[in-house]
């Protein structure tokens, strides 16, 4: 049972005014060492689903297995990269990258070696002693990525890691993530609302519907493994983009109407 297995995952939130069903029965799997993206409109529960897989949010019913182990809470074998800037401003780049290893009790020498390798992998060599305040938003997300990769987790979950960045930086960092993945071949589940980003990065895309969120479409991305940002202009890319967009469009409209009439 390698990879990520979702078995009929439901998540609902109770509040005084009623119940919100955020995730409504998702049964899917991410094959080991593959890159899968979830796309969906805002509020479709894709981040909630990721939080459940990360062990940060309990599922109301259903279960998640990662590499044969049931997820019951956070686990260092599950690496998470957040949307928000999670670099610690009082630590320089090296110390930030070492943070997760330090919490795990990794020895100093091993920490330094792994941090150096992770920093090199994300292209931050030469910035080891810089503090986050002196780095751009994109570079800080690289630091967060290096911190996650340094622990060498079995799976990496990314929750819209580039959402707060400008379009150029996004595409560039997306290509970087793809390059890094081709080197490490970790199992990656990537959440985004950007269709191009999802196609550029993934081998498979899950399209999620607006509330209650469930997977309405699974699209295999049959683009060559060796790809860079130039693939965006290829005909196949456009076909895939249209395919995802058609699935999404109805859902986005539904979410939009829901907000309008609310």
């Amino acid at each position: 049972m390698e990879g990520i297995h979702l078995n009929d995952v439901h998540v609902q939130f109770d509040h005084p005014s009623g119940i919100t069903i955020a995730v409504d029965g998702v049964t899917q799997q991410v094959p080991p060492r593959s890159f899968v993206s979830i796309v969906g409109p805002s509020g479709c529960g894709k981040s909630t689903l990721l939080a459940v897989i990360a062990g940060l949010q309990p599922a109301t019913s259903g279960s998640v297995d990662i590499n044969g182990r049931r997820v019951t809470g956070p686990d260092r074998d599950i690496g998470v990269v957040f949307q928000e800037d999670s670099t610690l401003p009082w630590r320089n780049v090296r110390e930030n990258v070492e943070f997760a290893m330090q919490m795990a009790g990794v020895s100093k020498g091993e920490r330094a070696a792994k941090a150096a390798a992770a920093i090199e992998l994300v292209g931050l060599k030469g910035f080891e002693n810089s503090y986050p305040a002196t780095l751009s938003g994109g570079m800080r997300q690289r630091v967060a990525l290096a911190r996650t990769l340094a622990l060498q987790p079995g799976v990496v979950l990314m929750d819209e890691p580039f959402a707060a960045l400008d379009q150029q930086t996004r595409i560039f960092l997306g290509a970087e993530v793809r390059r890094i993945w081709e080197q490490t071949h970790q199992t990656v589940l990537f959440v985004t609302h950007d269709i191009s980003e999802a196609i550029l990065l993934s081998q498979q895309i899950w399209v999620m519907s607006y509330r209650p969120g469930h997977v309405i479409d699974v699209i295999d991305i049959d683009l060559p493994d060796e790809r860079d940002a130039s693939i965006v202009s290829s005909p196949r890319f456009n076909e895939l983009h249209n395919r995802v967009w058609t699935s999404l469009q109805k859902e986005s409209m539904r979410g939009f109407q829901d907000v309008e009439t609310a």
Partner: protein, 246 residues
């Protein structure tokens, strides 16, 4: 020359000019009334005091009480601040009470404290009551201001409670905490000396009041100057630390 050293130099020149100006005004006004001692007489009393073992004992008493009030105030204020910052329930229950209590002129409690904590204990308690609040408020606000993603990060890497405290909470609130500590030292001095004005056997507050009632104004002013100097020095040192940490 960099702009920073230039700025430092002009700051220094400004401070010297201000000190000279203040001394000149002091010298002139001391000539106008006998209740104002001249700077020279004050300086003389300042130096002579340190040859008097009784005076040294007073200095020691006050310093000790201030140090105790300061440490207890920081620990207590830090603990309550932490509780308020971390627990929504504690905020609901304690916050209105604490805000109301902070508004009370604390010195009115002194007669109540005296029979409970005795002469030597009451001034420490008074110092604690003064030092407590800046630490408490700064810690509570600092803890609440910690970005939620730091806690999420802590959870995903399975950091323990102690690790969260040492590696996330403390460094995240370092600046408000230091501000609180800096204010606490001055306020601990205020609380202790104020208590000593009212009732105590030893201490600089008593020296000041006694000098006043005996008409020894040079003695009185020199002791006040000592108190100002001590509180000022510690504040400046902590302020420098605060800026370094930034």
């Amino acid at each position: 020359m960099t702009t920073l050293t230039k700025l430092r130099q002009s700051q220094f020149v400004g401070a010297v000019v201000l000190a000279l100006l203040a001394s000149a005004i002091w010298q002139i006004s001391s000539g106008l009334s006998f209740v104002i001692p001249s700077p020279a007489a004050t300086a003389e009393a300042f130096v002579q005091n340190f040859a008097d073992p009784r005076y040294l004992r007073d200095v020691g008493e006050t310093a000790q009480a201030v140090a105790q009030a300061f440490i207890i105030g920081i620990l207590l204020g830090g603990a309550i601040g932490l509780l308020l910052g971390l627990s929504a329930a504690a905020r609901t229950w304690l916050e209105p009470l604490l805000i109301a209590f902070n508004g009370v002129p604390k010195i009115v409690l002194y007669p109540v404290l005296l029979p409970v904590f005795s002469l030597s204990g009451s001034k420490i308690v008074m110092g604690v009551l003064f030092a407590l609040f800046p630490v408490l408020i700064n810690v509570a606000v600092g803890v609440r201001g910690i970005p939620p993603v730091y806690w999420k990060l802590g959870r995903t890497v399975q950091a323990g409670k102690w690790q969260l405290f040492v590696h996330i909470l403390l460094p995240a609130i370092r600046l408000p905490l230091l501000t609180g500590v800096r204010l606490a030292i001055s306020l601990a001095v205020v609380g202790v000396v104020l208590a000593e004005f009212f009732a105590t056997r030893f201490g600089l507050g008593r020296v000041v009041l006694q000098a006043y009632s005996h008409g020894e104004y040079a003695q009185m002013v020199s002791t006040i100057l000592l108190l100002i100097l001590a509180a000022f020095t510690v504040s400046v040192l902590l302020w420098r630390l605060e800026r370094r940490v930034r």
